[in-house]
Amino acid sequence: METERGLRTRILPGLTALTSRGLAGWMVVIGLGIVLSIVTMTLIAPWISPYDPSALNVGPLRSPPNGEFPLGTNHLGQDMLSRVLCGGSIMLQVSVLSVLLCLTVGVPIGLISSYVGGALDKTFSLIMDSIYAFPGMVLAITISAMLGRGVINMALSIAVVYIPSYFRIVRSHVLTIKELPYAVAARSIGAKGDTILFRYILPNVVPSIVSVATVNFADAILTAAGLTFVGLGVTKDIPDWGWDLTDGRTLLPSGAWWVITFPGVMIVLLALGFTLIGEGLSELLNPRLEQ
């Protein structure tokens, strides 16, 4: 007879592997759970929202949570529950886009620059270090203010801030790996530069890139929320947690806590989910850190 544990391993092999590895494994599982729930919620939101999230005056103005409006209404009489259910789409789009941009720009530049070395590497490193040293929020705000509104522009201004993180992690790994015996051996048997780079070095850099990218999702979400807060969000017409939080600030003196609390908690959960996955992964993929 199969034990319960054996059965679980057969159905969800990865899950048991993760949860049997202590706190780090649990962090990944919980993080994944949070993120997947929020993504699912955002995808099915149009069908499960009780009201049109943008419709005005569906209920009384600034009504606290009650039976009909479980999360209350805002100063425009919009239903907060519908807004919370639908409000994740812009943040998810912006964060996915910006992480993709970072991956497609930061990783190749890091690989090539550190493998080739010399003046090319020096130039790229100087540029990337200058961007890296600059306050990220200031940079994102400035670029965003110049480019104007829109999901793509927002993702672009966030990507510029975080590309150096990818560049640096890839570069430091390549510099170590290319001197390791197996890479030297590959060179000595006549492997070409791109073969060594993509088939020997890249696979060993991937784990670090994955954990950087996951944590970066959280950074992108928080930066996007910050951009919205200073008035550079996408547009007021689309329900967005960032906008609701920004709008809710004017309602603070009236004590309408529900207008900011629910969208704010959603942003925290989403960012927390990604941070947990990233932190957990980096610990699992870097056994050196465990004692």
């Binding site: 706190l23 100087l126 040293a133 600059f134 306050p135 929020m137 400035t142 910050g226």
Partner: protein, 343 residues
């Protein structure tokens, strides 16, 4: 290499970085799609008005001339003129800077103090429930948008409990004078210090009440990094022989922790303070906006709402120079404390 030559080398290294940074800001504001003057008027101005504005700001010249004028201006400490009223941007930044500096100082104290304390506690109880909860705390504060945390504090301590003010630096009209010498004032612009110089304890407590929530907000969000760093450094240090030796000599645990192990683990914390300064400034923008704190960050957001691109450029350049200066100071301090760096 002696300390002096290290400093010289480090300063020389900063120059290309600053040049790059200045060029980068220029490129963003002047070259990225989106003409600052057109954006300023939102296309609702006659061609003559637009042309006049370009002339007054020197934006009608070729880009390369603009670039060198911008650099030459910076050498003289001229950060350009505001598009709003053509007043010098430098002066406005100069008057907003102390507010940001004061906020930065207090939030760093909170972030580093709390981070070290929790980090040491966490490492001390490695792999226990206390260790886990401190680590989770560090991750959660990292994931909270600064302005959301600020608004919760405003709501709880300001709106519901009425304990603390929710915005501003001090009650209007109560600004401290600083040191009074005859009919002259010597003021630092840091209200907590100015009120003490003035000898006014009441004002001092008022300024503390006003600065408490903003610096707690910013400090909490930043403390996660310091918790993690202190924890991992302490765990590494615990394995070293000198800690075991100190324990073997029967020293009190607190002396071993703070007098021996922590002294060794502190240098990386110092470097991290330098690295985190940029993050701190970014967080300050959001904190200042939340708490109506009249510093550089709120100035930036204000100027963005007025579409005042020359002022934005000046403010961003100032932020960049500030970060470069702080990282220079931290590196020199680090070299002074750890002679191995100078080798």
């Amino acid at each position: 290499m002696g300390l002096r030559s290290y400093i010289v080398a480090r300063v020389l290294l900063t120059i290309p970085m600053i040049m790059l940074l200045l060029t980068f800001v220029f490129l963003i504001v002047r070259v990225l799609p989106g003409d600052p003057v057109l954006l300023h008027f939102e296309k609702a101005a006659s061609p003559e008005t637009i042309e006049l504005m370009r002339q007054r700001l020197g934006l009608d010249k070729p880009l390369i001339d603009q670039y060198f004028e911008y650099l030459a201006g910076l050498m003289r400490g001229d950060l350009g003129k505001s598009m709003q009223d053509f007043s010098p941007v430098g002066q406005q930044i100069f008057s907003a800077f102390p507010a940001t500096l004061e906020l930065a100082i207090y939030s760093t104290i909170i972030a580093v103090g709390l981070g070290i304390f929790l980090g040491v506690r966490s490492s001390q109880s490695y792999n226990s429930p206390q260790d886990h909860s401190i680590r989770v705390f560090g991750i959660v504060v990292y994931a909270i948008p600064i302005f959301f945390l600020g608004m919760i504090f405003q709501m709880v301590f300001g709106v519901f409990l009425h304990w603390l003010p929710t915005g501003g630096r001090i009650y209007p009209g109560m600004e401290p004078y600083g040191l009074i010498m005859g009919d002259q004032y010597i003021s630092t612009g840091l209200y907590t210090i100015d009120s003490l110089l003035e000898g006014n304890v009441f004002k001092f407590f008022q300024t503390l009440r006003y600065i408490f929530l903003p610096s707690l907000t910013l400090g909490l969000v930043l403390c996660g990094v310091f918790i993690r760093l202190t924890r991992s450094n302490m765990l590494e240090t615990f394995r070293l022989d000198f800690v075991t030796a100190a324990r073997a000599r029967g020293l009190r645990e607190r002396t071993v922790l703070y007098g021996y192990a922590f002294r060794n683990a502190f240098l990386p914390v110092l470097t991290m303070m330098g690295l985190q300064f940029a993050v701190l400034l970014g967080g300050a923008i959001l904190t200042e906006t939340t708490f109506s704190w009249p510093g550089l960050g709120r100035y930036l957001v204000d100027r963005i709402n007025f579409r005042d691109y020359t002022a934005i450029q000046g403010d961003v350049v100032f932020f960049g120079l500030l970060v470069a200066l702080v990282s220079l100071v931290v590196d020199v301090l680090y070299a002074y404390l750890d002679p191995r760096i100078r080798l």
